[in-house]
């Protein structure tokens, strides 16, 4: 069974694309993250409003992974970011 979860960008997070990185700052706490490579790519695509399936397809083409592998990588990335407070859970809805 899988559950659908919803995440959104934490409201205090602002970011900029620099040469070779995406630099994220939490405007409230002053915390800083410098994302690179696949993380920076994922963040950029998220910021463009990609839906999950489109995001997986795009990342799979770019990272030359299967869509299943990409999905696992993406879920792991989102979990890390949720733990760090970069993204927040935005209400769950279960389906089987």
């Amino acid at each position: 069974m899988s559950t659908a979860a919803r995440v959104r960008c934490a409201p205090g997070i602002v970011w900029v694309k620099d040469t070779g990185r995406a630099l994220l700052v939490d405007g409230e706490t002053g915390r800083l993250w410098a994302l690179q490579d696949a993380d920076a790519l994922t963040w950029e695509l998220l910021s463009m409003g990609y839906k999950y399936t489109d995001l997986v397809r795009m990342l799979a083409l770019l990272l030359t992974l299967s869509e299943d592998e990409t999905s696992a990588v993406l879920d792991d990335t989102l979990a890390r970011w949720q733990a760090a407070g970069i993204v927040l859970a935005a209400g769950d809805s279960a389906h089987g």
Binding site: S2, V7, V16, L46, Y52
Partner: protein, 329 residues
Amino acid sequence: MANLSISTICSLNCPYCFTADYLDDVPDGRRFMPLDEFDARLDFLDRSGIDEARLLGGEPTLHPDFPALVARALDRDKRIVVFSNGLMPNASLNSLADAPADRCFVLMNINAPADNGSAVITRQIEALRRLGERAMPGFNIYRPDFDLGFLLDLIEQTDCKPSIRLGIAQPCLSGDNRYIHPKQYRFIGQQIAAFTPIAAARGVTLEFDCGFVRCMFTDQEIQTLHDANANVGWRCNPILDVDVYGQVIQCYPLSRLGSLPLTPDIDAPALRKTFEARTGAYRHAGIYPECAICPFKASGECSGGCLAATIRRFRHSPFELVFRQESAP
């Protein structure tokens, strides 16, 4: 250093004024710092180890008790520094002209004659002439088509300090004022470099305000600036501004990042530390994407430009993503 703002009003309405956000946000009512609060401001300078009373506004010389403020600051052994547009009431002008020359300095910001008209520049020339070596002109570059030539004539006419303080108009966080965008810096840099030897030939040197960046000049142009004894720097050191209500902001363009109250026990280093904790993360970026890999920024030789311009590059992306999570059946 810290600046004491003693007036929220000004006799000019310069389009680049970096107090735009602050004046939009500040509650109505208080036009001037009350005279009886000035001693507390000077106490703050004392406990912060600051020996200059840097007065600004609005236009600080419009404060009705300006001569008294100058006298009090001098009594407390402060050197007076005034940031003025030069349109001073006589009493204010007299108080500065009578102050010891080694303890009084006026930076007079002067716009191009076409911007303010001949009546304004005539009064500015009169004020510079009265103040002589106590004053020097400053010029804020806020559009790419600027001409500094008139300032050389003005310096010769007035016998003021033969220097020009150059500023690049920087954005408030809202971007509502007129400012030079970093992509225009190179064009500005070329013009400054071309003007520097012309100024030097007439005995005038240039001083750079904060917000300049190294890469707006070529190495050859930097050599030209050095050869002409220009006082160059690529820094952004927000100087605390204490407003007329006794609230401290990191610097006017950053006023929307919030303020701290000037309590009787706090000093400038502590305030600066608090502000730096709020904004330090942004310092990892600069005004250009390439600042991230610039050796001059990495070494600290260049700050990467104005912090307000840097912060304006950041944005929030309000995305939302529905994704699946595996869970036990």
